[in-house]
């Protein structure tokens, strides 16, 4: 066998190895958490409040807290993100302003999550005096997932063929009528996928909620949007590093619930995207 082919064999073996290293690690993480976490999860674990300083009982308040935070973040980010995407895809001209907006979106996506936490603390908690509350936490998470929603929605809107718009306009529809009745309905699956991925992201993030909403231990449900709540990711952080002698089962169980939630959400997004690709008419 000549030298170039031997080199190719060695190189391809390395590439395969690199791929396997990543895949095996991902598999390992998922398998360990499922294996040790799934047996710890039962109805009582999901529906009970934490007891004995979080060393017993369940994680119900943390699940509810995360649900509130994610809902709040989406309510804030989806309308703004969708309209921003419509602007970029339908109205924006190819000029400096558009370029700056796109750069801002890229930067927003790159801001470290803990810096979002600082920002939320300074703007919502201190400046607007919302306090450490669901409102502050949701808004912080909302701004964090905004770039994700804008990017996904924009891609989806832009993939609607230009001819669809031209036909609608030529029939006498106005620009907004065209967007509302022709472009948006065809872009819904992509927008939905982006939104769902935003849900997964918001549900799993810890750093942005550290100083804006998360309660260390609060075995009750919130009464208003100005209350603190527990949240799943922060709860996992607390019981794995801040509270000594927590039963392994509770830690793995919490990690399992969080991972299962996030992966389920992502799976839904993937299925929607896949089905949409199958059905696509153009």
């Amino acid at each position: 066998m000549s030298h170039p082919y031997r080199a190719q064999k060695i190189a391809f073996a390395f590439l395969l190895l690199a791929t396997l290293v990543i895949l095996v690690s991902v598999g390992f993480v998922v398998v360990v958490i499922v294996q040790k976490g799934a047996p710890a999860v039962n109805w009582q674990f999901l529906s009970d409040i934490p007891r004995q300083g979080m060393r017993a009982g369940g994680i119900f308040p943390a699940i509810v807290g995360t649900a509130y935070l994610v809902a709040g973040a989406i309510v804030f980010a989806l309308p703004i993100g969708l309209l921003a995407a419509i602007y970029l895809s339908e109205y924006a001209k190819d000029n400096a302003l558009t370029r700056i907006i796109k750069l801002a979106i890229v930067n927003l996506a790159g801001v470290p999550s803990v810096v979002y936490g600082l920002f939320g603390l300074a703007l919502f908690v201190v400046f607007f005096k919302f306090g450490v509350s669901i409102l502050s936490g949701s808004l912080t998470l909302g701004i964090m997932i905004l770039p994700l929603i804008i990017t996904a929605s924009r891609e989806s809107l832009e993939s609607v063929p230009q001819s669809f718009r031209e036909v609608s306009l030529s029939l006498g529809a106005s620009k907004w009528q065209t967007i509302q009745h022709i472009v948006l309905p065809n872009a819904i699956p992509g927008i939905l996928t982006g939104t769902i991925l935003g849900v997964g992201r918001a549900a799993g993030e810890t750093a942005p909620i550290l100083f804006t909403v998360a309660a260390f231990y609060l075995p009750q449900l919130p009464g208003s949007i100005f209350d603190q709540v527990m949240a799943l990711p922060y709860h996992l952080y607390v019981i794995s590093t801040q509270v000594p002698n927590v039963d392994e089962k509770i830690r793995y169980g919490t990690a399992f619930v969080l991972l299962a939630l996030v992966l389920f959400v992502n799976l839904v997004a993937i299925v929607i995207r896949y089905k949409f690709r199958m059905k696509k008419k153009w």
Binding site: T19, I33, V106, G110, G117, L123
Partner: protein, 287 residues
């Protein structure tokens, strides 16, 4: 009436489009507003180059050099691990894997991107940390090395997906030309495709490293959080991000400690801004 409606819609949509700019500016302004106050008590030079970080001693010592070096050590370690593996995986997916396997591999990478960082931190604590401790016979496994390994994996999805994109968008004719000249597939990849995709791959690496510098929870849970200047990979370190996350909860609003943590936030914001703008330039050069 309809004209007015169209006009209103257009303006509303424009305002939402501008929201991203507004938020980036607001983030920076509020970091500055809170963070710059620290320079009343410590000069910018002493803040950036000061060797001790004892924020609650009297008077507080607010030098972030140990934290900067902590971030640097962990980031360099992660880069050394993640660049060859990540780019290698990207080449495998783009060039070698058959179509069906390609979809599975991409899904696996997406799965990794979706796992919350606190879950990875937890798994790192219970598996990676004891492994590092036993393997290198250290007093503790909570070291910069553990952090580097964990962060390398967190950078992988970014590096792989963007590098794969870059390779995919190299015109087919380049590769066909190389093959027609008698090059092997590997020679075509190594000498032609990688060069043609180099600016995109560079952007992928930069964005991956940007993710590493900004990562907070996992790194806080497994690097041991010792705010001292690190002399090797085998000691506990504390990164810029972990410092904010670990200490802000106890800092009194309006105290020097509080301002100092915001100033650390400014440093992080500027780093991520620089990384993202540069990576964006590289990505556009390609087109």
């Amino acid at each position: 009436m309809r004209k007015l409606w169209e006009f209103v819609i257009e303006k509303v949509v424009l305002i939402c489009g501008l929201a991203s700019i507004l938020f980036v500016v607001l983030i920076f302004l509020f970091l500055l507003r809170e963070g710059l106050s620290v320079f009343k008590t410590v000069s910018p030079g002493a803040f950036l180059a000061g060797k001790s970080w004892y924020p609650i001693s009297e008077p507080p010592q607010l030098g972030i050099l140990p934290l900067v070096l902590g971030s640097l050590v962990v980031t360099i370690g992660a880069a050394i691990i993640s660049i060859p593996i990540g780019v290698g995986c990207a080449i495998y997916i783009a060039e070698i894997a058959p179509q069906r396997l390609k979809e599975i591999l991409k899904a696996g990478i997406e799965l990794l991107a979706a796992i919350p960082s606190v879950v990875l931190g937890f798994i790192g604590m219970v598996t990676l940390v004891p492994l590092v401790k036993n393997l290198f016979d250290l007093p503790t496994g909570l070291t910069a090395l553990s952090g580097s390994i964990m962060l390398a994996f967190m950078a992988m999805p970014t590096i792989v997906s963007i590098a794969e994109d870059a390779l995919y968008s190299v015109p087919k004719a380049y590769k066909e030309g190389a093959l027609a000249m008698g090059a092997t597939h590997w020679q075509a990849i190594w000498r032609v495709m990688l060069r043609a995709a180099s600016s995109g791959i560079l952007a992928a690496i930069m964005l991956g490293i940007g993710r590493v510098i900004g990562e907070t929870m996992a790194v806080m849970m497994i690097t041991g959080n010792a705010a001292v200047i690190p002399h090797s990979l085998f000691v506990p370190v504390r990164t810029l991000t972990a410092t904010i996350a670990a200490e802000m909860g106890e800092a009194v609003i309006g105290s020097e400690h509080y301002f100092a943590l915001f100033a650390v936030g400014i440093v992080l914001f500027i780093i991520s801004f620089a990384v993202n703008v540069t990576a964006d330039l590289f990505l556009h050069k390609r087109q």
